[in-house]
Symmetry: C2
Subunit: 445 residues, 2 copies
Amino acid sequence: MFQAAAKTFSVAPTASVCRGILSSIRQYCKKTPTKLRVSEALSSAELGTNVKVQGWVRSVRPQKANLFLHVNDGSSLQSLQIVAGSELLTFGSAVEVTGILKKSPNQKQTVELEADQIHVVGECNPVDFPFKIKERHGLEYIRQFPHLRCRTNAFSSLLRVRSEATTAIHSYFKENGFVQIHTPIITSNDCEGAGELFQVEPSGPEHEEGENFFSVPAFLTVSGQLHLEVMSGAFSRVYTFGPTFRAENSQSRRHLAEFYMVEAEVSFTQSLEDLTKVMEDMFRSATEHVLAHCAEDVALFHKHVTPGHRWGCDLQTEHEKYLVKHCGNIPVFVTDYPYDLKPFYARDNQDHPKHTAAAVDLLVPGVGELCGGSLREERLDLLRARLEEVGLEETYSWYLDLRRFGSVPHGGFGLGFERFLQCILGIDNIKDVTPFPRFSHSCLL
Amino acid sequence: MFQAAAKTFSVAPTASVCRGILSSIRQYCKKTPTKLRVSEALSSAELGTNVKVQGWVRSVRPQKANLFLHVNDGSSLQSLQIVAGSELLTFGSAVEVTGILKKSPNQKQTVELEADQIHVVGECNPVDFPFKIKERHGLEYIRQFPHLRCRTNAFSSLLRVRSEATTAIHSYFKENGFVQIHTPIITSNDCEGAGELFQVEPSGPEHEEGENFFSVPAFLTVSGQLHLEVMSGAFSRVYTFGPTFRAENSQSRRHLAEFYMVEAEVSFTQSLEDLTKVMEDMFRSATEHVLAHCAEDVALFHKHVTPGHRWGCDLQTEHEKYLVKHCGNIPVFVTDYPYDLKPFYARDNQDHPKHTAAAVDLLVPGVGELCGGSLREERLDLLRARLEEVGLEETYSWYLDLRRFGSVPHGGFGLGFERFLQCILGIDNIKDVTPFPRFSHSCLL
């Protein structure tokens, strides 16, 4: 099996290993080892059975006659302790271990694997490998190695949390009757000629200069909202969860050129409370799901990586900071913004002379703005008047059509997924919550 | 509630409506109507209760003293039949109906709603509206109206199936211990300088000519494979499900510039069978889920939209057609392709003089290639030699690193999500299975 060049050790059994082997020798002879993932082995009740585990060596600790290894395969933060007799294994190498699963005498873990055979599947030169045994590398250090940082405890925890949070968000919407829409990444909608857009054209010499591939200029989406609104004319609840883009010339801890947004639209909404209820429910439900399913991973961040929850404090506007603090450092909804500050689609509250729009932001401690939403202007005459004012009536004639044919009061919101992760994990820099961060002057791999 | 300009009808009760109202008058007086989605109303066992339903009018049928409406809110293909007394309602308008839910005398539906009040939330001018009552519009016709086509039965069914198939795929991977990775959309990996890439740069005059935003040329991803392989060094099972891009100058029924791929990588794989098992399990599981959860929607396509399953037959290569037909018109795996035809990462089977690579395609009737996969070359020396041959050793030094540090035998595959939908629904044109199709010379909205 595997490549011929790999090494296979026959482990010289120590006294303790012998006991384990002897106690289950009959069972061992009867059947081939059961292949288990590390998480399965850790929670297995079938002690004394012969198992096979595959993974990467996360620690090596020689002690008396034995060598203690920790092997991890990404299925959990906790590694499986291997009791071996050889000392020729290096940190970072890939191994396949067969042996007997037994109760661990150490309280740190419930089970351990007494190795019968350890097969080195892939070696790892500790001199060249940028992560060193027993060192706790900072997030900033590991960020330099986008192709290897998933091999650290911190970043593999982050990736499990990110995956579980994604599941949680899809589950919330699914359970509440939302239809998922894949809104387009490439769009001809230039968002009122706003800056910070990426434009898309084929590369290479065969592409004719001056002619657009799509016949019109095409951009990377900054939001799926308008496309979701299309669907709001036939589905009363829709959402999208995917990448969005800003060509922002910033290397700050708060901005990425490519980030994920969760966006939802609800038809037949009657007030901002209809929206804030969905925003709050989703936030609660996703957070509870992550805390329930990734308790160990979350705890790692709260204990080691970001002690004291001091993240991001200098980055918020004084305004947001004040509001969140004033309310007792809890998430805060801010509603009914001045009409003139909001985009054309925000619904006019018609409350002159104050004149506000039915818009809402959700501010959270440490991160600032996590969600933004609004009721959308569903009244054809008001929407048309506003688009005429800014000279965009023709560009958005399709959007006006949505109000011409069976228009309904509706509203929606967007949540910045990376900011959500920063918020629940207490991670200072947005580059540390995304697998391959893209920002100005950086697009590694 | 809602806009002041909207009309509210007091329905003149007919004999039949009266009976319904009388039978439940006590209950009606006691409580405000329960808001139900159409799918909830259709499956409700609580007949005689006072309910409120909101949606769009999908049909209007005057009969004797009554008017029969079908109201749909996207929650199911089936609409709720409303028995009303007014004749002022038009096809396509948005309504809010309150009344009594009761057993329908007609066998076509189990329940119907005897309207007490119908509120027109948003009107729809039948002259301007491109879809006409009682007409069955073809997929090609409705494709011209990307902002309105979700209001047809066919396309709303497609969107529900697409959403449910997405859920099914995530569920399959989740249940099988895969971690979801958001592989990047923007990448500096130019895929060996292959053509058909989209390049990305900020738009607008403030962008300096000749300087790259990311300091290097950046492209839209054509596959998340290499980024998934990074994760294969710490997680034994990972997948990604997201948009990918090809700047293919084609308007054929088989190609889009933006389409969705499901990609998975499995570490510690020992043979192509490890991969084909995952491919087959996922395909079966997703298909069964869709058939179980969207039976009505799928049936619509099989009955009306694509009668006879004749789709796509002229588009496949003779080769693929022959193979699938030869095997009895079932899905077919083709394995072990000539080494020289496969990309640098495909694992060398070292079976000279035949010399094949451990690659596999899944061909399905009607669609042709649905999945492609391979074992990846995990042996540093062989991979380096091949990259040297093509002069890419430096470009892929990070990829070689993955083999330097704890390399494991691994493999993976990609599935074209739109082709999967075409396959299970029997839809001829790929533009009809995606909400906003992008292809050469077309990027609507």
